[in-house]
């Protein structure tokens, strides 16, 4: 095959997209997603390097240390595919996507962690938990739908976006505004978390606390308990320790005739 005619096809990028869902299958402390990147990138190298030894050499290059947020790794995979394609077509062996990968993985890691783990996930969870406490049995389906509508939609698009923009993060941010959306979801998550505590008197059975007090007293006590627990977490408590403490308090209340 002539070098100039080496070009990626849509099917190659679709192959990368499919394999990107496995990028963390061999996650380890020292190389993190390195093997996963090489695995996901294989369809690109298969197309661009018909010669086995050249392809093997490129595979080794793509087994370098790599770690980023797994969903946004797709953007880097697409960008690296574009640079690798240019390298294969020009024959310029000095050109290498390694530098691009190293440049993009930290900022996209921070961006993705903040958006997907730190805001979209709690936002979806808080909505679903509210619906569950209101007595909706299909809240797990709601949780999966809210989260994956954004997750799968973005992830399917990221490889192609990375390829089209050659890894232009500014263009990515202009299109999606991840920091702004993260702030919005965090605000809404906090408000809805507060709503969970404020609506305790209307929780559906079996979640309604079995204590013989009226709604206003129960709500006030609940909000106070949340604030105390939040403060304890702030001064060094852990969820496990607080859970044990809560169990001990419940035992004391039950022994005192409450509950």
């Amino acid at each position: 095959m002539e070098r100039e005619s080496r070009a990626l096809r849509t099917v190659d990028l679709l192959g990368v997209t499919w394999r990107s869902f496995f990028i963390q299958a061999s996650w380890s402390y020292d190389r993190m997603q390195s093997l996963g990147f090489a695995f996901a990138f294989a369809p690109v190298l298969r197309r661009l390097y018909p010669d086995r030894s050249e392809r093997a050499e490129r595979l080794v290059r793509h087994m370098d240390y790599f770690n980023t947020q797994p969903y946004l790794a797709s953007f880097i995979l697409g960008a690296a595919a574009r640079v690798e394609e240019e390298r294969a077509r020009s024959g310029d062996t000095a050109a290498d996507p390694g530098e691009l990968k190293r440049t993009l993985m930290a900022p996209l890691g921070a961006l993705g962690d903040s958006f997907f783990w730190g805001s979209l996930k709690p936002f979806s969870a808080v909505i679903a938990v509210i619906m569950l406490l209101a007595g909706t049995w299909w809240s797990p389906i709601l949780f999966l739908a809210v989260y994956n509508l954004a997750h799968v939609g973005l992830r399917a698009h990221m490889v192609f976006a990375g390829y089209a923009t050659r890894g232009d993060v500014v263009a990515l941010l202009a299109r999606y505004n991840f920091p702004g959306l993260a702030r919005l979801f965090k605000v809404l998550s906090l408000v809805l978390a507060g709503t969970i505590a404020g609506t305790v008197s209307a929780w559906a059975p079996p979640f309604h606390p079995p204590v013989p007090v009226n709604g206003a007293v129960l709500t006030a006590a609940t909000i106070a308990l949340v604030l105390v627990m939040s403060h304890l977490l702030r001064v060094g408590g852990s969820p496990v320790k607080l859970m044990l403490g809560l169990a001990a308090i419940c035992l004391a209340l039950a022994m005192g005739g409450l509950g």
Partner: protein
Amino acid sequence: MTQVLAAALLGGLVGLDRTALGQFMVSQPLVAGPLMGWVLGDPLTGLLIGGVLELVWVLDMPIGTFVPADSTVAAVSATAIAVIGSGGTMRMPAVGFSLLLTTVMAPVTMFADHLMRQRNARLPEFAAATTGVTEGRIAAAHLAGLVAFFLKSFVLCLILVPAGIVALTWFLKLPAVAHRAMRLFVTLLPLLGVAVAARKLSVRTLDRYLVIGCAVGAAGVLILSAPVPVAAAVAAVAGWLGGRVHGT
């Protein structure tokens, strides 16, 4: 024994979603719990367990080398212990005790995860063995990681579930006061979830958005007798407007 094996198998499969495969959030307690319950014929118990655990662990983020507590194993094991161990009776006390039991085992699940990720470091060496790197070797080495992740959750469930059932049998023989305590414990756990979420989403204990949510939610259900989802929707709009005013 068949039920324990089914629980361990499901734990292993759903556990893949945590890190190794897809991350569609099927491994979150809110989904994994009812899924386990459904397999064992009692989805409501799983829904209870998943629902109260969800917010406690949702913001434990896998950033860098930090490996969070395995909330999937906790939810799946707790559901299996509660369903199999209680035989469908005394649901709430059994749920409370199972939750407590599996949560205190969180450090064990983190240690197992840590060990497995250390062992995964050998996989790139396998891919680059003396015969040279090939696409096939990379795929084999990489996908071997899936087996390791599956086995970690499978073995943890296989140990935790039978041990938990024995402990639950013992617990159910305790006086009624212990059962009442566990029933109360389950109903208060969502509040711990709220506290954990508030702690991780804001640097302030009295965060204004949390307060808006509490106030609007309480006013909605206590004064206006609004359904919880309606109160939540109004609170969300109020919070959004508040955020716009303060430029957040």
